[in-house]
Symmetry: C2
Subunit: 216 residues, 2 copies
């Protein structure tokens, strides 16, 4: 009962891939809904925003507890807390962002990470002209100081928003410095040792896929 999770419900088992993906998606919508002052949300509404079947949503959530009120819906605040608890992402991980170009600045200025409890602790660029520039709350540092920063700022995740040519050499240095998770927004296929995970993405990877359905 209630919104507390037993050790077994949240601790033991790893979530199935699909469940974790959907929970993240719910969380994104819930965070936005909360900003807009919404206090309650139904599985039907969540479905409209996420394109996930409402039954599926109720099923996903009921696996972890009874978060809803019949006839009313889910409390937005409560559900945000609950899903964060389930995903165990509570802001204890530091991110280093590389590249202060358009994409890098867009990411650095967005509330996205802060909203979800992650901290961008450093923004790097290799262009001396950009070093010292203020971008959102960050001051651009030179990429030369990367190795020290990884250790001192306890950076566990590197986000790459650099030109294609710069990506591989940068990845090599990051790997040597001890970074084990790289988010690659550049248009390159990165070669890394097996213990390092690369996640390649781009602002519109899913555009192509989504258009297949929308355009028919």
């Amino acid at each position: 009962m209630g919104t507390e999770l037993s050790e077994e419900e949240r601790g033991g088992e790893r979530l199935a891939l699909g469940v974790a993906a959907r929970l993240s998606r719910y969380l994104q919508v819930l965070t936005q809904a909360r900003k807009m002052g919404k206090e309650t949300i139904s599985s039907q509404e969540l479905s409209e925003y996420t394109h996930v079947n409402p039954t599926q949503i109720r099923r996903d959530l009921s696996g972890f507890g009874r978060f809803g009120k019949r006839g009313v819906g889910y409390n937005v605040d409560g559900l945000v807390t609950a899903i964060r608890d389930i995903l165990r992402t509570a802001g204890q991980h530091n991110i280093g962002l590389f590249g202060a170009g358009n994409l890098g600045k867009a990411i650095a200025s967005s509330d996205m990470f802060a909203d979800h409890g992650f901290r961008v602790v450093a923004l790097f660029d290799s262009d001396p002209a950009k070093v010292g520039e203020k971008v959102g709350p960050h001051e651009v540092r030179h990429a030369d100081s990367l190795e020290r920063a990884v250790v001192e700022d306890e950076i566990v995740v590197a986000v790459l928003a650099v030109p294609a040519a710069a990506a591989q050499p940068l990845a090599d240095r990051l790997v040597d410095a001890g970074v084990r998770i790289i988010f690659n927004y550049s248009e390159t296929l990165l070669q890394v040792p097996p213990e390092v995970t690369v996640h390649t993405s781009s602002p519109a990877v899913d555009l192509l896929y989504a258009l297949y359905f929308y355009l028919t």
Copy 2:
């Protein structure tokens, strides 16, 4: 045999959601691989870059034809052509991009759309100071001219990279102008009539989800 697809294999049935998502992902990697001069790729290699099981990849592809060579792998060029054929995305659709801020500029300057055969035909902003500015191959137009541009340039997809406060009014105008597909990169939940599809995304929506797995 060969790489030609029968009408039934590509025309009749709609692809399952998962298949289309994965094919798009393969296509993205293949496009990058081709740029890097790779001529052949194995399901094992594709798996490393996409995190999709190699058997799954072979299964996905073999449903549409025999594209590979045993003992060798897949021809990169041939597979790009084949998947484009399957997804039926061959550049006949025009995109209007709204917002010439950091994210808008990043999207406008990227090869992404061109790589996949889509055309960004117009870039808009409501800030007069930005109108006329050159961004990649585009010149920023004032958002006032949106209605005419939608008709004249046959814009079917609108990509929104604008501040949260501007998103809903803009979406309303786009809907009135006849746009039926909106890609929303702003941090707002958009209200639109049922015949319009909204796809909400952000440069790191999947970061949250991916981190759940990588950080454990």
